[in-house]
Symmetry: C2
Subunit: 213 residues, 2 copies
């Protein structure tokens, strides 16, 4: 009896060719392919056989990896979830793990490594590849750090205005507050982000995805 695998990735080429590759492994067969979380929900309803392991891409339109993993953890707790991503940011890994994934694979993993991972997940129930070699302590620390970067609604609004061709005077006007108050926000943000200039703040805000470009 082959182990049933499900795949979710928004890139058709990757989805189909990965499917081919997994079929070539002999121990595994692909029973569901979906382009995103929404697509998967529909396909599962039509009575396809439920996979034992689900490989989930993190970056997807419509319903992304985190949301999909969370939904699967809720609705199909029996399925073992594996995050699949090209991005090895701690933040992404942590949120997929928290969403219920028992492994995190990078897209530049070697195929034999993938097979090994699938085996381990099948037997042990989890897999720690080099992507997860990042020790959990560091993950948790960086998670803690991230929490310190939580900003209030007003601060976020300020950050967005900071990331533009505007003077603080204009920002004050736009926020409906005094210039001095804007100073206060700047100082608070400089402190939180450990920067010393508006440009530095601006760059950090973008890096942390608090502001979209």
């Amino acid at each position: 009896m082959k182990t049933r695998i499900g795949l979710i990735d928004d890139h058709q080429l990757f989805l189909k060719s990965l499917s081919l590759m997994i079929e070539s492994f002999r121990e595994y067969e692909v029973v569901v392919e979906a382009l995103n979380g929404k697509d998967l929900q529909e396909k599962l309803q039509t009575g396809t056989s439920i996979p034992e392991i689900m490989l989930i891409d993190v970056n997807m339109p419509v319903m992304d990896g985190v949301a999909t993993a969370r939904w699967l953890t809720e609705q199909h707790p029996g399925i073992k979830l594996v995050a699949l991503s090209m991005n090895d940011e701690d933040k992404t890994i942590i949120s997929m793990i928290r969403a219920g994934c028992c492994a995190y694979l990078l897209k530049d993993t070697h195929p034999t490594e993938l097979e090994k991972a699938l085996e381990e997940i099948n037997s042990k129930g989890f897999y720690n590849g080099d992507a997860s070699n990042v020790n959990y302590r560091r993950l948790i620390i960086s998670q803690d750090k991230d929490q310190q970067f939580k900003v209030t609604g007003r601060e976020l609004q300020f950050l967005e205005l900071v990331c533009s061709d505007r003077t603080y005077k204009q920002i004050a006007l736009e926020m409906g507050i005094a210039e001095r108050t804007v100073d206060g926000y700047r100082e608070a943000m400089f402190e939180k982000f450990k920067v010393a200039s508006r440009v530095g703040l601006c760059l950090e805000a973008i890096r942390k995805n608090l502001v979209r470009l």
Copy 2:
């Protein structure tokens, strides 16, 4: 005689599984696989057979798609180049076409479409999928606009330093020029990018991918 295909993509999983898929097409065989342009150069030197069609990922570390395509156009003009990307920005497409690609495929293309594309490239020498339906007029116009944003080496260096927590004094020191000269660069850039502050300049530089975050 099968048509020889070469693949370049930095994601091992995708590379290997796409290779599998193309092998399954029966009319094609994969003769070279590389993780980036540099890797390809090395592999071509070791006397592997030269492919007739090369599929090139656009986003890669070390030596990216554009650079690789340019190099191949120079060194191996016989090879037909196909850009492969998940990103359908006009700018990316145009630069790959200009670098010598005769087709542009998106990674969410369906496998059958890929096969069709390969066939067309083989017979006609080019392929226009829906990604290229974007009319060329618009592409050329946006390209013209982009050309106004070409920057000299020194200006690029300046832009990178601008996008950091540094004062102009420090930038002058780092570039080995007088502070006044830095003023000149700033003024030139403000003019080119139509911005009025360092933050605005910084954001534009990032948006135009002149500076990496």
